[in-house]
Amino acid sequence: MKVQTAIPAVLMRIILLIAVVFVLAPLVFMLTASLMPASDIVKMPYRWIPQGIHTANFVKAIAGNDGQFMFIRNIINSLIVAVTVSITTVLISSLTGYSLSKFSYRGRDVLFLLIMATMMIPFEAIMIPLYMVVTKMGIQNSYPGLIIPFMVNAFGVFMMRQYLITFPDEFIDAARVDGMSEFAIYRKIILPNSGPAIATLAILAFRAQWDNLLWPLLVAQTEKMKTIPLYVVKFTAEMHTDEGAMMAVALIASIPMFILFFSLSKYFVSGAAVYSSRKG
């Protein structure tokens, strides 16, 4: 709808444009600075167009201070953790959501409320007891230690339950008449028909792990078990004066997320917009 506008159209566009510049400039800075020698990066005023490609930044970023190429190992660690967590989150959330939406056993709603209650518990408040649980299980400084505490989360269960409530019962009943086992129904009917919800959930889980700093800081003690955020912090602290290499690390660390974002932006948006659908 367009009526006589309270804010002049020109001003509106200027505000939107300034916001675009503010938001994109640091990203462009990361990209251009990663291609420049350090002496160009701190030049005043900053020259936005690199004079060439300074590949030494990327060599330094990947090889690291000690030349151990730990960055590659840390990227692989992050990928392993993020992919595994995405898969387990999707599987357990959908199974639980299916149970909570399509079965009617006693205590179902209490269980649902209990699971929802865990959304109130901030990770930051339980990280130290969690660390002791993981230590007792003997899985600190290992992939299981990084993965298991995040295998599923209440938000995922909530999302899948809401999604499956509207799933037509007729399909499920028809499959039962055909003699399909309950687990086969989950695997062959529920899962394949939950595409959008699964994609949204998988991306949320992947991103959360890609971004996770606090937990690996506690449990990943050796360089070989560290993940990307830890590498970024360590590299930044050690190489404070090598701006180009720092931005090369930042860029490499962001590439997988940007690929996901550009190919699946729809699901990023639906992940955020979930919150504004009032009826849940």
Binding site: S99, Y105, R108, L114, I121, I128, P129, V133
Partner: protein
């Protein structure tokens, strides 16, 4: 006549199905018990003890001594202050600016999709990457000084983004604001899109202008989203860690930005005083519960129907 009727008569087949339903929920229940409920109970119990991680001494029960210590500790109050300043200083601009941008995006005809994607793009980055980029922007010779000097026409002035206690707090807020503003623009855009256009048409026929339409239609109907976004962003800000951690690791002063989560980490992991760290955790938990409760109590009575 039987004295009590069974509430629901279930066929054997139905019972068989429901057994599967229970089985399907079991993994999640086990998981949440071990990795959520047990740790929060454990944190509460541990907060009543004097306990060190690697110590061989058995923990001693000291009642509320940890809480008493914290509430009289200048260091902890500084963390409360740092967290409160960060939260208020971040979520209010986040809320106002993202609402403004969402409303403006809704008004322009072209490039809606591009604007939304552009605003959202920083949210794709890891928090530490965002902090690393801004670390360089705040360099004395970096872009922040160049821009501010350009806008304020003060060539060559260094604004001491890290050396000054107030500026370093402002710097962390700016990073966070930059990273999340687009995320909330998306949420508000979705909220605005769910308001039926017929309402605006009716308002226009009745002769109201768009300023009135905003204050009388958009804002009231968006109120649940506004409350949701403010509580969500507030809760997120209370848990902030990555930016502050990366900044202090790279040489920024710790005092002004020593937020609660960083204090918990340092107390529990570096100093290994997990009793005291647990007490901090429980205080953080209580603060967040309070704000969640506040959200529920303000939105419950305001279900909107069109």
């Amino acid at each position: 006549m039987p004295r009590t009727m069974p509430r629901r008569l279930k066929s054997p087949l139905k019972k068989h199905q429901d057994r599967w339903g229970r089985l399907f929920v079991l993994p999640a229940i086990l998981f949440f018990s071990v990795f959520n409920f047990y740790p929060i109970i454990n944190a509460f119990v541990t907060s009543l003890f004097r306990k060190k991680i690697l110590s061989l001494k058995p923990p001693t029960f000291i009642g509320l001594e940890n809480y008493r210590y914290l509430l009289t500790s200048a260091d902890f109050w500084n963390s409360i202050r740092a967290t409160a300043v960060f939260t208020v200083g971040t979520f209010i601009p986040l809320l106002l600016v993202s609402l403004l941008l969402a409303v403006l995006i809704n008004e322009v005809k072209w490039g809606k999709k591009f604007l939304q994607m552009a605003y959202y793009s920083p949210a794709v980055l890891s928090s530490v990457v965002a902090a690393a980029i801004w670390l360089l922007i705040f360099d004395p010779r970096g872009l922040a000084n160049q821009w501010v000097n350009f806008v304020m026409n003060t060539p060559g002035v260094d604004h001491n983004w890290f050396a000054n206690a107030i500026m370093v707090q402002f710097a962390t807020m700016l990073v966070y604001f930059w990273k999340y503003v687009g995320y909330f623009v998306i949420i508000f855009t979705a909220g605005i899109a769910s308001i039926p256009g017929t309402l605006y048409e009716a308002a226009r026929i009745d002769g109201s202008n768009s300023r009135q339409a905003f204050w009388r239609i958009t804002l009231p109907l968006l109120k649940p989203t506004v409350v949701l976004v403010s509580v969500m962003s507030m809760l997120q800000c209370l848990k902030t860690f990555s930016t502050q951690y990366l900044f202090t690791q790279s040489g920024a002063p710790q005092g002004p930005i020593n937020v609660i989560t960083m204090n918990i980490y340092h107390t529990g992991i570096r100093d290994q005083r997990i009793g005291r760290a647990s007490a901090m955790s429980i205080i953080l938990f209580a603060i967040m519960l309070f704000f969640t409760w506040l959200q529920f109590s303000t939105t419950k009575s305001e279900e909107v129907t069109y």
